[in-house]
């Protein structure tokens, strides 16, 4: 994955660059808004991480301009303030996701992975498959090894999100945002509870567990290899 980081805080930029390179991605960094605009418009990036506030040109303006120029790369905003107004503004300007500083690198990586590997809009999947687990999105039915699995609507949504990101780690906050539309962090273990119920339903009868917990990061659904 080719990632461009437009961030003027040298430490944060180094932290993100280093992390991405460790995980085998190609990452470039610019620290000025105007340079950021030029690089983003010219380079062929899969994802762009852009700070909301930059010297020269602010993040919102950069994203509006590159979207206007037809750049399709996934855009993730970084900001020091997690105001809801800021989030809405960022998404309206053409951003795809939003992360409040300070953040865990694993959170950023999980979000970038989810963004950059979005399937093209043309191929609308109707059936999702992970090993012998099958989800029919039209009939809204789930089968494990041919046997029906009864799920609550919210459990279905949770499993759907996990399966759409099969093989990729999704974090707790991503699940809260996408499955429940909660843009805050409840103290109650909502995600944990629902995941454990989902596991019990999907993996009942001594079948191999497909949903795995990645300690300190989140969850992943994948075929046993």
């Amino acid at each position: 994955m080719r990632v461009l980081i437009i961030e003027d805080d040298a430490e944060t930029a180094a932290y993100v660059l280093d992390g991405l390179r460790r995980h085998g991605h190609v990452a470039d960094q610019v620290s000025d808004g105007r340079d950021g605009l030029m690089t983003a418009a010219g380079g062929d990036y899969d994802a762009i991480v852009v700070d909301r506030m930059l010297p020269g040109l602010d993040g919102l303006a950069i994203v509006k301009m590159i979207r206007g120029a037809g750049v399709k790369a996934a855009v993730l905003f970084l900001t020091a303030r997690g105001g809801i107004d800021d989030r809405v503004e960022g998404l309206e300007a053409g951003g795809d996701d939003y992360l409040t500083k300070p953040f865990a690198f694993s959170e950023l990586l999980a979000r970038l992975n989810a963004l950059a590997r979005r399937p093209p809009l043309t191929s609308i999947e109707t059936v999702l498959r992970v090993a012998d687990l099958e989800m029919d999105l039209i009939a809204r039915r789930v089968k494990r090894n041919g046997t029906d699995v009864e799920l609550q609507p919210r459990e279905f949504k949770l499993l759907e999100y996990l399966m759409r990101n099969a093989g990729r780690v999704v974090t707790r906050t991503m699940l809260l945002e996408r499955v429940w539309e909660f843009h805050f962090d409840p103290k109650t273990k909502i995600v944990e509870t629902h995941i454990s119920r989902l596991r019990a339903k999907v993996g009942s009868g001594g079948q191999q567990q497909l949903i795995h917990t990645i300690r300190g990061v989140g969850y992943v659904i994948r075929s046993p290899s």
């Binding site: 506030m53 303030r81 997690g82 865990a104 909660f182 454990s196």
Partner: protein, 490 residues
């Protein structure tokens, strides 16, 4: 406005003043009028008396120079003069010699008499007469019709009445006009104050450009509001600066801890310590974010996220999300939510508010507790509540639990920032909801009550405000960010 206007006008200070002035001026006009009236009357009386006295002197002279027979003739002649006085002349025996005054008193001197007048029906004619006895024993009476004096009196009183009426009408109209002008200025100030308390800090009292008292007052108020806005802005800038000043190094600390954790390899003891440090750092950051968020919400300007939301659906989503987690902790959560209640507000903030209440209810109750979420519609009043049958909060503490960092003694040591309910209170305030904690006997009941009617009106007015104030607000929002940027670089 249309129906209450006359009443409101009458209650204004300026109308009261106008009324007072009108009354005082009318009273002084009446006094002045009567002084003039009496002066005029007295002057008429004096003129009449002088006229009569002069006539009597002439007739006395006539008697002395020409004799009694000539006197009678002279009187007859004078009766026929145009605008003549009235006469009566009798000899010593009382026999009439000339003139036609009757009903005369016996005594000499001045008196007023009434003579029936067949032309005027019942009303007699009044005369002022002077009776004298002449040297030869003749009795001479000279008098004048008092009717002219009466005409003057009537004309005067009539004029006074009309003048008073015109005067009252003019002063009251002027008073009403002044008062409505006054009211419109007062209303303008009241509207501005209302807009400001609704969070539009940029609102100012409009000036008329007349440089009158009101304009000067408005200008003073506006200067005061400018000052308050500057103070508020610098306050929020200071808190933003502090937020940044602390969050940036804390963020770097977190980054370094993460790098350390990645590098710590298989050293499990070290990894554990770093994990604990990371958790502590996250807690500090959480507390800080919560403080900044509460301050942002309390500033009352976060209304850009206000939309029409399906409150029932939102309540269902949140309570459903918590019910499974509650069940796992041995607590039952039931929801009684009236369907399809629409509301104007910030859905994300209301979700967070309800989640905080449920977090609290689950965290502060023992196993086996029942928690009930409800949303009901009492006419125009919406009532939302989260009630549990846990240990509750002593009545003396019920008001204090909304304070920042306030924690009940028994909760100290458990997880949590002590900011959850402050955030709930701030979100409730932003949405015009009344938030209170009561005894659920046993347990705690958190109630949010709000008026749909008022909110419907707000929805309409805010939508307009939003369109009108888009420009300045955008600028206002950019301001602190720029300041933050500076703080970050320095």
């Amino acid at each position: 406005m249309s129906f209450g206007l006359p009443l409101r006008l009458m209650r204004t200070a300026s109308f009261g003043l106008a009324l007072l002035y009108a009354t005082l001026l009318a009273a002084s006009a009446v006094v002045l009028g009567f002084i003039v009236y009496w002066t005029v009357q007295a002057s008429i009386d004096r003129q009449m008396a002088a006229h009569i006295d002069a006539e009597i002197e002439i007739l006395k002279e006539e008697l002395r120079s020409e004799g009694a027979a000539d006197l009678a003739r002279e009187v007859e002649t004078r009766i026929n003069y145009f605008g003549a006085l009235d006469y009566f002349l009798a000899d010593a025996d009382g026999k009439r010699l000339a003139g036609d005054l009757s009903n005369l008193p016996a005594t000499d001197g001045w008196s007023d008499i009434a003579i029936p007048d067949p032309q005027r029906g019942k009303d007699p004619k009044y005369f002022r007469v002077k009776i004298v006895h002449l040297d030869n024993g003749y009795r001479l009476v000279v008098g004048d019709d008092l009717g002219s004096k009466e005409d003057i009196r009537r004309a005067f009183l009539g004029a006074l009445g009309w003048a008073l009426l015109a005067f009252l009408v003019l002063t009251l109209t002027a008073g009403a006009l002044l008062s409505s002008a006054f009211l419109s200025r007062v209303d303008a100030i009241a509207r501005t104050a209302e807009a400001i308390s609704n969070g539009d800090l940029g609102s100012r009292v409009p000036l008329q450009g007349t440089n009158d008292n009101f304009d000067r007052l408005s200008a003073t108020l506006n200067r005061m509001l400018d000052q308050i806005q500057r103070l508020m802005e610098s306050l929020s800038q200071v808190s933003n600066d502090i937020a940044h000043a602390l969050r940036t190094p804390l963020g770097r600390l977190r980054q370094k801890l993460e790098v350390a954790r990645a590098n710590s390899g298989a050293n499990s003891e070290c990894t554990k310590t770093i994990d604990a440090a990371l958790e502590e750092t996250d807690n500090i950051l959480d507390t800080f974010s919560a403080l900044v968020r509460i301050a942002q919400i309390e500033s009352g300007t976060r209304t850009a996220g206000f939309r029409e939301i399906d409150l029932s659906k939102l309540f269902e989503t949140v309570s459903e999300a918590f019910s499974a987690a509650g069940e796992d902790e041995g607590k039952t959560l039931t929801a009684k939510i009236a369907p399809s209640i629409k509301f104007w507000g910030d859905g994300d903030l209301i979700s967070e508010m309800l989640a905080n209440l449920l977090d609290n209810a689950i965290r502060h109750t023992a196993q086996g507790a029942h928690i009930e979420v409800s949303l009901v519609n009492h006419g125009s009043q919406l009532v939302a509540s989260v009630a549990d049958d846990g240990p509750g909060v002593p009545p003396s503490e019920q008001d204090r639990i909304f304070r920042r960092f306030y924690r009940l003694e028994r909760s100290i040591g458990t997880a949590g920032t002590g900011l959850g309910l402050s955030l709930v209170a701030a979100v409730a305030e932003l949405h015009g909801m009344k938030f209170c904690a009561t005894d659920n006997k046993p347990g705690l009941r958190m109630t949010l009550s709000f008026d749909c009617g008022v909110l419907n009106a707000k929805r309409a007015s805010r939508a307009i405000d939003h369109d009108l104030a888009q420009g300045p607000r955008q600028i206002a929002r950019r301001g602190p960010e720029r300041a933050e940027k500076v703080a970050l670089q320095s």
